[in-house]
């Protein structure tokens, strides 16, 4: 089995696209760091508490102005409240470290990991059909399920490699651009808007990645399944990417009907992104819990895997 995985790994790393994917993650990490640097306010060197206090005073002044509309007033009130929370909870809003950078950007860049892994997984088996090499591959002294399993294991390893690369790139680039900050700095929870709850920035980054992984595994497995169902590589890759992009839209449609039709709770899409459960403030629908969503994901995951192996085992290789 190890030799089969070695073979698959060799095939992945003989393709130029693999290196492009990894290079892209590096460039994306670099690019977002530059953007972050340009966007963040200049560090004046003053105490941040003084600056926040000064902000609050200005906002109070603005509220007293006569020609102010109600909307504007509400917006200023909100900003002022946020500033007061910063002071009360001792949170530096202008804090800029490698961790705040990762909280803001790395979490976003995981979508590229999903995209690249979907591309690789969906061509994992279908490319053997498209190239005609499947015939030479399956006349070896290995049962089909072993060959397929080696491909799936390799897909998992490749996914892990891309994710770890992204994390390492961002961490190091973060240090380079923003300095090595503390893991336990606090910030307002970006997923719990308006509640002013605080999170530890390092924990936030870790949570955002950990809660992203289950949905990612299911999407990857769908791509792998399509790769064995379709003999045409372009078709398998195309449909996989389509599903990836359509899943957000489908999720929104399903969410809006979920109160009406109870069974929609069991459709895969609302459960793919578990990150809403981190703060516990975003409820997808009544009675949605992390446990329920995880169970749905696990059930779908095994259905997809079983289907993949069953179809591949039975398939007549005719091309």
């Amino acid at each position: 089995m190890i030799s089969l995985v070695k073979n698959e790994w060799m095939k992945i790393f003989s393709k130029a696209s693999t290196y492009i994917f990894i290079a892209f993650l590096l460039v994306a990490a670099l690019g977002t760091a530059i953007i972050d640097m340009k966007l963040s306010p200049e560090q004046s060197g003053k105490d941040w508490k003084q600056e926040v206090k000064a902000d609050i005073q200005e906002q109070e002044k603005a509220l007293k102005a006569k020609d102010i509309g109600d909307d504007e007033k509400a917006a200023i009130m909100e900003e002022m409240e946020t500033n007061k929370q910063y002071l009360a909870k001792n949170i530096n809003p202008d804090l800029s470290t490698n961790w705040t950078y990762m909280a803001e950007w790395t979490v976003t860049l995981t979508s590229f990991v999903t995209l690249f892994v979907v591309i690789v997984c969906s061509s994992m088996v279908s490319s053997e059909f498209s190239d005609g090499t499947i015939k030479q591959l399956l006349i070896r002294p290995y049962k089909r399920w072993k060959i397929l399993l080696s491909k799936y294991i390799t897909s998992l390893l490749f996914a892990a490699l891309l994710l770890v690369s992204l994390l390492i790139f961002s961490y190091l680039i973060g240090i380079l651009f923003f300095g090595n900050g503390s893991y336990s700095d606090k910030m307002l929870d970006p997923t719990a808007y308006g509640s002013f709850s605080t999170v530890v920035v390092g924990t936030y980054v870790v949570d955002m990645i950990v809660y992203w992984i289950p949905g990612f595994l299911v999407i990857m497995t769908i791509a792998f399944m399509l790769s064995t169902l379709f003999k045409n590589q372009a078709l398998a890759v195309g449909i996989s990417i389509f599903i990836l992009f359509a899943s957000t839209t489908l999720n929104m449609i399903i969410q809006s009907f979920i109160g009406k039709y109870e069974w929609l709770k069991f459709v895969l899409f609302p459960h793919l992104d578990l990150r809403g459960y981190i703060s516990g403030t975003m409820e997808m629908f009544d009675g949605a819990t992390l446990g329920f969503s995880m169970s749905i994901l696990v059930v779908y995951y095994f259905i997809f895997l079983a289907l993949t192996f069953f179809v591949f085992q039975k398939k007549d290789i005719t091309n």
Binding site: L4, S14, K15, P141, D316
Partner: protein, 310 residues
């Protein structure tokens, strides 16, 4: 162990109501080069794909070197080397990486020396570190041979191996086969190119419409009763015709002109006719035998089959 490296029994493939392969049985011994002949679409490729486990069988059994394909798939496959249809490779990898890929899938450890030996044998040493996408079809065919023989299997299967090869390539391929067979390997070749098969195979089977209609005709048979087309170059063709008609009524004269006469005759009859001509003061300059080619036999067999089925 049975001495047949491949034993195929009652192989059948049905798709829906159509019977693609109908109850086909044959055997290949070691040292034997066996040709599976038939027009395109006769079911040759389907038979080969069933033997190699690429498609499911509706019925029948396959034994490779004594290992049943159903009971011991891995055992059977470890004795097999094959190129199924065109030799397809991972074009984005070098020839060496492709060979390494298949070496890793071999049941027994394959040393670097063995890899080098095989690469030399197929004369790819100059190009082995280039990507396969730069290879010509002939080179890919040779790489195909390399991956098939790498693990020293006892059965080799080549499906339409000379497709797209130039005459030089075909000749080289034929020479490999002869060498491999002499080393004790049994070889199955499918083709629709009859003249090719004649030069390559020791024995053959003809497939038509999924049925085996003729088996194991050995290529070389010099039995005395075999009738050949014999042509005599003489000084007077019409005289020769006259002599034969008068004195040798049971011989069939195919054609004659001023200087030649062609007849259907056995070896013995040929000698008698020559004596007859000499005795009648007819000068014989040359006696030529046109052996029936495999192609003639093939058409004879398939046409006969067609007449019977009408």
């Amino acid at each position: 162990m049975s001495d047949a490296v491949l034993k195929v029994q009652s192989l059948t493939k049905k798709i829906g109501n159509a019977t693609i392969v109908d109850n086909v049985s044959f055997e290949i011994k070691n040292n034997e080069i066996f040709g599976l002949l038939g027009p395109n679409g006769a079911g040759k490729t389907t038979i080969i794909r069933m033997i190699t486990g690429l498609i499911n069988r509706t019925g029948g059994s396959v034994m490779i070197n004594g290992n049943d394909l159903d009971k011991d798939f891995e055992g059977a496959m470890s004795q097999l080397g094959a190129i199924v249809e065109n030799p397809e490779f991972y074009k984005y990898m070098t020839g060496r990486k492709n060979i390494l890929h298949y070496a890793r899938m071999s049941p027994n450890d394959i040393s670097n020396e063995r890899i080098e030996e095989v690469i030399k044998l197929v004369k790819l040493d100059h190009a082995i570190d280039k990507k396969v996408k730069t290879y010509s079809l002939g080179m890919r065919q040779r790489l195909g041979v390399a991956q098939a023989i790498l693990h020293k299997p006892s059965l080799l299967i080549f499906d339409e191996p000379t497709n797209g090869l130039d005459p030089q390539g075909i000749r080289e391929f034929r020479d490999y086969l002869k060498v491999l067979a002499s080393e004790g390997v049994g070889i199955l070749i499918s083709s629709h190119l009859l003249s090719e098969m004649q030069l390559m195979c020791d024995s053959f089977a003809v497939i038509e419409k999924g049925k085996l209609i003729h088996t194991k005709e050995h290529m070389v048979d010099e039995k005395t009763e075999t009738i050949h087309q014999v042509s005599f170059a003489v000084n007077d063709g019409s005289l020769a015709n006259k002599i034969l008609q008068e004195q040798y009524a049971d011989i069939s004269i195919l054609k004659f002109d001023a200087n030649t006469i062609s007849v259907s005759a056995t070896r013995e009859q040929t000698a008698q006719i020559n004596r007859l001509f000499n005795g009648n003061e007819l000068d014989v300059y040359e006696i030529g035998i046109t052996r029936k080619s495999l192609e003639d036999k093939f058409f004879e067999i398939t046409e006969q089959e067609m007449r019977e089925s009408v």
